[in-house]
Symmetry: C2
Subunit: 319 residues, 2 copies
Amino acid sequence: MTSKPIQRDIIVSEVGPRDGLQSIKRTMATDAKIAWIAALAAAGLPEIEVGSFVSPRLLPQMADIADVVAVAMKLPDVQILALVPNLKGATTAFAAGARRLTMPVSASRLHSQSNINMSPEQAVTQVADVCRLRDGLKGDGRARHVEVGISTAFGCTMEGTVSEDYVIELARLVARAGADVVNLSDTTGMGNPAQVKRLFARLQRELGERAGGAHFHNTRGQGLANVVAALDVGVTTFDSSQAGLGGCPYAPGATGNIVTEDLVFLLEAMGLRTGVDIETLIAARSIIAAALPGEALYGHVSDAGLPKGFVSAASQRLS
Amino acid sequence: MTSKPIQRDIIVSEVGPRDGLQSIKRTMATDAKIAWIAALAAAGLPEIEVGSFVSPRLLPQMADIADVVAVAMKLPDVQILALVPNLKGATTAFAAGARRLTMPVSASRLHSQSNINMSPEQAVTQVADVCRLRDGLKGDGRARHVEVGISTAFGCTMEGTVSEDYVIELARLVARAGADVVNLSDTTGMGNPAQVKRLFARLQRELGERAGGAHFHNTRGQGLANVVAALDVGVTTFDSSQAGLGGCPYAPGATGNIVTEDLVFLLEAMGLRTGVDIETLIAARSIIAAALPGEALYGHVSDAGLPKGFVSAASQRLS
C-alpha cells in the first residue's frame, strides 16, 4: 500500500533553521534544531533549508550543520536544502550528504562584499565552480541541485536602489553558469508589489523554467502583499520562516522573513494547496519557545487562531 | 495665490480616532484627540473618521464626539466622517455640524444584533431614515453624504462563513435606500485576496459608482495582502488606523485595523499618490504614545524606517 501523493499548488520553503537562526545571537542546541526540523516536516512542509556550510568562526550558530544535514536527510517526504557561499562550502555540503544547495549572489556590490566577502562577479564564478562540482558527482546516480538566490534584488540597505537590469543580468549569468533555479530575494524588506510583478515577469521571460521563487522579508510589513503580487505573475515557490524568526539586527522591532504560519494561511484561504497542516505547524512554535526562551516570535494567525468555519484548500477541492 | 490641489490616486481614510479608540478600554482626553486629528490632517490624510455618535453609556470613549466634530470641521483640506448606528445618532451628528456620516450594516445576524442591537433589515431601515433626513436638510445648500459599511462582509467570528450573495443583496438594499457609497468591511480579519477580488468585483458590477472602498482589519496579518488584491480590481479608498490602534479584545496579540503608516508606504512605494507625507505621519504616533502611555502601537515602517533611496509617488511622477 502506498500513501497518496500530496497535491500542492504552491511550494512553501521553510528557511527558519537557516535564515532565522543565523540572524539571532544565541545558538539553538543541535537536538532542538533536529526536533524543530522534524516537526516542520511532519506539518507537511515540502522543503526546509536547514543551515549554512560556512566557517563556524563567522557563524557559530551553524557549527553543527553537517550533523543536522545527516539527520534531516533521513526525513521522509521533504527536500532538504543547505546554503553554501562558495566551492569550499559546497564540497563539505555534498560530502555531508546534502543534495540541494542554495547560493547567495548579491546584486549590491557593498552587500556582496560585507555578506560573503566577494564581488558579485566572484560569486558568479563560485556558482560556476559549484555547478561543475555537482556535474562531476553525477557518476553516483544521485540527483543534485544548485539554486541561486539573487540577494538585495529589490533594494539594499547600504546602496539604496538596485538596478533591475543588473539583477536580471546576474540571473542570466548564474543560469548560464549552471544554476538549476534562480530565485529573487528581498533581503532588506524594501520591495513593493509593483516592483515584484515587474522583476519576476522579467526573470521568467529571461530564464523560462529556471526562473524560481521569492524570498521576502517582512521588515516593513509588506511581505504578504508582495506574495500576492508574485502569485499574480505565476510565482509558485515562497521562502518563509516559522514565527518570522530572526528579525533584523539593524532595525529593532523589524521582523525577519515572512511568517510561515501567516503565509500558509494566506495561500490555503485563497484555495491554493500547500500540503501543510496549519495547526500542526503552529504547534511547532513551542519547540522554538522552549529552545530559545525569550526570543521574539512573530505572526498573527498563531495569536488570532484560525477563523470559525475555516476550510483548507485541499478540503475546498474535495467539497 | 491659491495653493496647488494635491493629486491623489488613492484615498487613505484614517479611522483610528473612531475604530481604534472605541476598541481600547481607556478614553483618550478630548484635547489629545483634537491634537491627534489635527496632526493626521497636517500629514495630508484626506479623510478622517473622528468618532461615533452613540450612547456614552455604551461607549464612554466617544462621549465628547460633538466637541471633537465641531473642532475637526474647521480643519482645512480634510473630509471629516462620523459613525452613526441609527437615525438618533444621525440627527445629533448633523446638528453638531457633521456632513459625512458612515453607518454599519452587518451581513451577520448575530454580529448585527450584538453590535448595534438590530437585525440587518432594521439597520437597512435606519439607513433609509437617515438618507431621508439628509435629503430633508438640502435646503441649507450644504452637501451631506451618507456612507454605509457592510460589516463582517468577509466572515464573522460568531457565524463563520458569511453568504456573499447576502452581502451583495444588503449592498443593493442600502444603495436603493439612498446611501451615497457602500464600502465592504473585513471586521474580523477573515478575508483573503481571492475573496476580496471576487466580492469587490461583484459590488462594482451591482452598484457602479456607488461601490466604495475597503475596510480591512489585520487580525491574521493579511491586511496589506488584501489591499493589493483590492487595488487589482480598482478599489481606490482604504480605511486604516494609525499604529493599528485598537487590536481585538477577543484575540490577545491580534492587531486591529491595517496600519496607516504601512499602508501609505505600500501605496507610495508602488507609485500610487496618497498625498500623505509619511514622515509627518509617523511623527504623529508620539501623540498617541503620550496620551495613552503603554498602549500597544503596531506597524513596521515606523520601526524599520524608510528605505535608503525611498522616493514618494508624487516625486516619482516629477522625475
